[in-house]
C-alpha cells in the first residue's frame, strides 16, 4: 500500500532559498548546452524537409547530394529500421514506435509541412545545407486539413490509411478520428433538464508552441562496437534512450544518452526528433554527427499543443449549486494520434463538485506537426472553456463568481469528471487565500481616457504524476556528499534535490554537490515533466539519504565497538543510545571513513503513484485600449496549493513562468495557418510571446497543504499555473469591455472586432 507521512514544519533546509548549484556556470556561459558540443572528427547533419503539408512521395534522388565533395552520408525513409506498431510506456505517456519513426522521417507520404524526407551529413553545416538542396524529391500533392472540423468531414482527405480509430470501443477505418472516449456519471439529462440555470457555449483555440529558447539538438556517435552514444537536450535521458533504441530497433543497453544543459522544454523535449537520425548518419559516415534545428523547423515540426474545439454546458440549481455538466472536446493531434483528450477529461471539472457529468473527447489527426506535451497538456484548453462558462453562468444568474467557486469547490471525496475520487486536496484553501489576498481586496483603479479596466479570476488543475526516479550518494572525505540523480534540471531541481539530502543528513544545501547523471551513471529515471521531479526524484534523494544514515551508523558502530542499532542520528550528529554524551558529527565521521570500511555510498529508487493533485486560482487585472484593442496586464496574482515548497524561489518561478506562458497563449500566440497548410508566423518575430517588458511582476501566494504521499509534503507545482491564465484573462476582458470572447488568441484585432 502507499506510504503516507504526517505533516511537519520544523525544517532546517527545506523552505530556505540557497543559491542554485549551477548558477555560476549558467550566468558565466560555462554551462555546456547541445550547441556547444565538439568531438574529434565531428561532422554536421541537416534535414531535407517537405514543402507540402500533405503529399505522396513519388521518388527521391539523392545522387547529386552524395556526389558532392565533403558529403559523408545521405539517408531517406528507406534507411529507417522498420519499427513495430506497438505502444510503449514512456513515463508521461506512451509512444508507438512506428508512428514515432515515421514522424522523424517520412516513408511514403508526408503529413505536415517540414516533415523530413531525407538527411545529409557533411564536413560542415554549409556543405550539408548545400547538399540537402541537391536532394530531388518528386511529390504528388494532396489536399490537407488543418482543423478538427474539416478533418472529420465525410469527404476529408485521410492522413493515415492504416489507422484504426477507436470510437467508444468500436473499430473505425478510413478516418482521421484516432479515438473517441466518454466518461458519464449520474443522471446528466435529468439534472440538466431540472436545472434552474443553464448555459451552453462553444470555444475554439488555435495550436500554440512551448516556445523554448534553445532549439532541438543532438550529437550522436555510432561506434565500432555498435554502441550509440548520444549527447542531447532532453527532458529525460532514459525515456530518450527508450525512444532511440525503439526507433532504431536496438537493445537499450547499446544506447548511452548524456543529457546536456537544457534551455527550456515545457514538455516539448520529451519526444526525440534528431537523435535517431544523427545516429543513422553516424553509422553510415562512421563519424560523430551533430544536428541543431533552425527556428522555423522548431515551429513547423516539433511539439505544439493541440488546437481545440469545445462545447461546454452547465446546469445549476436556484441556490447556485452546480448540478450537471457536459463537455464535448475535439483536440488536434497533429499528424499522428495522441492529443491529450484523456488528461483534458481528467481536468475539465476538477475544481468543482458536480454530481452528474458527461465528457466526450475526440483525438483528431490534422496536417500539422504531431503535438507534444506542453505544461499540463490538455488542461489549459478545457480550463478556458470551463472557467469562461462558469463566469458567464454567474453573470446570467447574478451570482458572485468568487463565492460561486467557493460554494462549488471540490474537496476530499469529490469525484473528478473521469470518476476518480480526490484524497486530501487544497482547492478550498486556495480559494480562501485568493479571497483574502491583497489583490482581490484592492480596487481596480481608474483607467486613463480611451481605456477600460477589468478583473478576472479562474481556477486551474493538474493531477501531477509520480513514476520512477533514482539517486546515488557518496560521502567525500571533507564531509560533503556527492549526489548523482537522473532528472534533467530545468527549473533548479538540482538544488531542490540537494536540499532533500541535506535536510536528512543535517548538512547545508551546499555541502551536497548534485550532478545530473547519464544513462550509465545512475538508475532509471523518468522524464522531468508531469510536475513529478521534485516530488519523485526528491523522494528518491530522501530515501538515499536515509539509506546513507544506515550505512554510516554501521561505521560509527565500528568506531565505538557497539551495535549499529545502538547508534542514534539526529540533525547531523551520531550518538550512542547507551552513552548520550558520546557523539560524532557527520563531517568528522566522513574524515575517519578510511579506517571504518572505506567508501560510504547509498542509493534511492522509487516508482511512485501520484504527486498529489494541484489546484490554483489566478487573479488578472487588464487595461484595454478601446481604439487599438491592445490589452495590458496591469496586475496579476497566482495562488496555488504547492504542498511544501522545498525552495520557495523555484516554486514562485514555476507559478510566474506558467502564468506568463498562459498570458501569451491567451492574448497573442497561435499557429497562423495558410490554406496550403503552411504556418505563416514561424519565427519569434511573428510568433508573439510576452517578454518582461510586456508584463507586470507576477505576484504569487504559496498555499502549503502538505501532501501526505511525500516525506516533506511536496506536491507537483509546475503545470497547474498555466491553466488559469487564459480564462482569467478572458473573464477580465469581459469585465472591462462587456464583451466576451470565445476564441483564442484574444488579440487586439478580435477585441476591436468584438467592440463594433
Amino acid at each position: 500500500m502507499v506510504a503516507t507521512f504526517e505533516p511537519k514544519t520544523d525544517y532546517r533546509v527545506v523552505g530556505t532559498r540557497p543559491i542554485r548549484h549551477d548558477g555560476y556556470d549558467k550566468v558565466t556561459g560555462r554551462a555546456i548546452y547541445g550547441g556547444d558540443m565538439k568531438l574529434p572528427g565531428l561532422i554536421w547533419g541537416v534535414m531535407v524537409r517537405s514543402p507540402h503539408a500533405h503529399a505522396n512521395i513519388k521518388s527521391i534522388d539523392t545522387s547529386a547530394a552524395e556526389a558532392m565533395d565533403g558529403v559523408f552520408a545521405v539517408i531517406t525513409g528507406a534507411d529507417m529500421p522498420k519499427a513495430p506498431s506497438k505502444l510503449v510506456d514512456l513515463g508521461e505517456g506512451n509512444i508507438n514506435f512506428k508512428w514515432a519513426s515515421n514522424k522523424l522521417m517520412a516513408a511514403e507520404k508526408v503529413l505536415y509541412r517540414g516533415h523530413p524526407v531525407a538527411a545529409v551529413a557533411a564536413v560542415d553545416r554549409y556543405v550539408a545545407e548545400e547538399a540537402a538542396r541537391k536532394v530531388v524529391v518528386e511529390y504528388e500533392v494532396l489536399p490537407s486539413v488543418t482543423n478538427v472540423v474539416d478533418a472529420l468531414k465525410p469527404d476529408a482527405p485521410i492522413l493515415l490509411d492504416d489507422l484504426v480509430g477507436d470510437d467508444l470501443g468500436e473499430d473505425v477505418t478510413n478516418t482521421n478520428m484516432a479515438a473517441h472516449v466518454r466518461h458519464e456519471f449520474g443522471d446528466v439529462e435529468g439534472a440538466m433538464s431540472s436545472a434552474a440555470h443553464t448555459i451552453e457555449r462553444e470555444y475554439n483555440m488555435q495550436m500554440v508552441h512551448q516556445g523554448y529558447i534553445e532549439p532541438h539538438n543532438a550529437t550522436a556517435h555510432w561506434d565500432e562496437e555498435d554502441r550509440i552514444k548520444v549527447w542531447t537536450s532532453t527532458q529525460g535521458a532514459f525515456p530518450a534512450r527508450t525512444q532511440i533504441a525503439g526507433i532504431l530497433q536496438v537493445d537499450v543497453s547499446r544506447v548511452k544518452v548524456t543529457p546536456l544543459e537544457i534551455g527550456g522544454g515545457f514538455g516539448g523535449k520529451i519526444p526525440v526528433y534528431f537523435e535517431p537520425i544523427a545516429a543513422l548518419l553516424s553509422k553510415k559516415s562512421q563519424r560523430p554527427v551533430k544536428m541543431v534545428m533552425e527556428r522555423t523547423a522548431v515551429f513547423e515540426t516539433t511539439g505544439p499543443t493541440p488546437g481545440a474545439r469545445m462545447i461546454i454546458k452547465l446546469g445549476a440549481d436556484a441556490n447556485g449549486k452546480l448540478t450537471a455538466a457536459t463537455a464535448d472536446i475535439w483536440f488536434e493531434a497533429g499528424a499522428n494520434p495522441g492529443a491529450f483528450i484523456g488528461p483534458a477529461a481528467m481536468c475539465v471539472y476538477a475544481p468543482y463538485e458536480i454530481q452528474n457529468t458527461r465528457i466526450d473527447g475526440w483525438d483528431v489527426l490534422v496536417n500539422k506537426p504531431k503535438v507534444a506535451p506542453y505544461r499540463a497538456p490538455g488542461s489549459p484548453q478545457v480550463a478556458f472553456a470551463m472557467e469562461s462558462a462558469v463566469d458567464e453562468l454567474c453573470e446570467q444568474a447574478g451570482w458572485d463568481s468568487m463565492q460561486f467557486r467557493i460554494d462549488n469547490a471540490s474537496k476530499e471525496g469529490t469525484r473528478r469528471g473521469d470518476g476518480v475520487l480526490f484524497s486530501k486536496i487544497g482547492m478550498q484553501e486556495v480559494l480562501d487565500a485568493a479571497k483574502a489576498s491583497d489583490h482581490w481586496n484592492s480596487p481596480l483603479g481608474d483607467a486613463p481616457e480611451g481605456k477600460v479596466r477589468g478583473r478576472g479570476i479562474a481556477n486551474g488543475y493538474w493531477f501531477n504524476i509520480g513514476l520512477k526516479s533514482s539517486a546515488n550518494l557518496a560521502v567525500n572525505a571533507d564531509g560533503t556528499v556527492q549526489l548523482t540523480e537522473g532528472s534533467t534540471d530545468i527549473g533548479g531541481s538540482r538544488t531542490s534535490m540537494a536540499m532533500h539530502v541535506a535536510e536528512v543528513l543535517g548538512l547545508d544545501a551546499h555541502d551536497v554537490r548534485p550532478v545530473v547523471g547519464d544513462t550509465e551513471s545512475v538508475g532509471f529515471t523518468d522524464v522531468t515533466g508531469g510536475s513529478r521531479t521534485t516530488y519523485a526524484t526528491g523522494y528518491a534523494c530522501w530515501q538515499a539519504a536515509n539509506n546513507l544514515v544506515d550505512v554510516l551508523k554501521e561505521r560509527v558502530a565500528i568506531l565505538w565497538d557497539i551495535k549499529p542499532e545502538d547508534v542514534d542520528f539526529n540533525d547531523g550528529l551520531f550518538s550512542s543510545k547507551a552513552e548520550s554524551a558520546k557523539t560524532i558529527g557527520f563531517k568528522e565521521l566522513a574524515g575517519k571513513l578510511d579506517d571504518l570500511g572505506g567508501p560510504a555510498n547509498s542509493t534511492g529508487a522509487v516508482d511512485l503513484e501520484s504527486a498529489g493533485d494541484g489546484f490554483g486560482m489566478h487573479i488578472a487585472d487588464v487595461e484595454i485600449d478601446l481604439g487599438t484593442g491592445k490589452t495590458d496586464v496591469i496586475r496579476y496574482t497566482a495562488i496555488q496549493d504547492v504542498g511544501t515548497a522545498i525552495h520557495p524561489s523555484y516554486v514562485e518561478g514555476q507559478l510566474q513562468g506558467g502564468s506568463v506562458q498562459g498570458i501569451g497563449w491567451a492574448l497573442n500566440e497561435e499557429y497562423f495557418m495558410q490554406d496550403d497548410g503552411r504556418m505563416a508566423n514561424s519565427s519569434f518575430l511573428d510568433y508573439r510571446m510576452p517578454t518582461s517588458l510586456d508584463l507586470p511582476q507576477i505576484d504569487t501566494v504559496l498555499v502549503e497543504v502538505p501532501n501526505p504521499l511525500h516525506p516533506y509534503g511536496v506536491r507537483g507545482v509546475g503545470e497547474t499555473p498555466i491553466c488559469p491564465p487564459i480564462p482569467a484573462i478572458a473573464n477580465a476582458i469581459k469585465d472591462a469591455t462587456g464583451k466576451r470572447l470565445y476564441n483564442t488568441p484574444m488579440n487586439p484585432g478580435s477585441i476591436v472586432e468584438s467592440l463594433k
Binding site: 505502444l87 458519464e184 491529450f340 475520487l421
Partner: protein, 87 residues
Amino acid sequence: MATVFLPYALRKYADGAERVEVPAKTLRELVDNLEAAHPGTREHLVEDDRLKPGLAAIVGHVATRRGLLQKLDSDTEVHFITAISGG
C-alpha cells in the same frame, strides 16, 4: 468486494452499469472475475498478461505502479482510464 467503475466503452458488457462489484484480492483477480461475470471486458484491459498499454488503473485515489500484481483492499474502488498515448 472491489467496486469497478467501468470505462464507458465496457458498460455494454454489463447491461450499461456504471459500476459493478467484483470479489478480488489483486488486480489480476479482479480482471479475471470481471471477465467471468461480464464476458468481453478482459480483452479491453489486458494484453500479454499485463495491463494494456495506454491504460492506467486507478486503485483508490492513485494510479497503481504494480500492474496486475496490485493488491486490493476489500472496499477499494478501481478505475481504468486512458493514459497519455501518442507517437
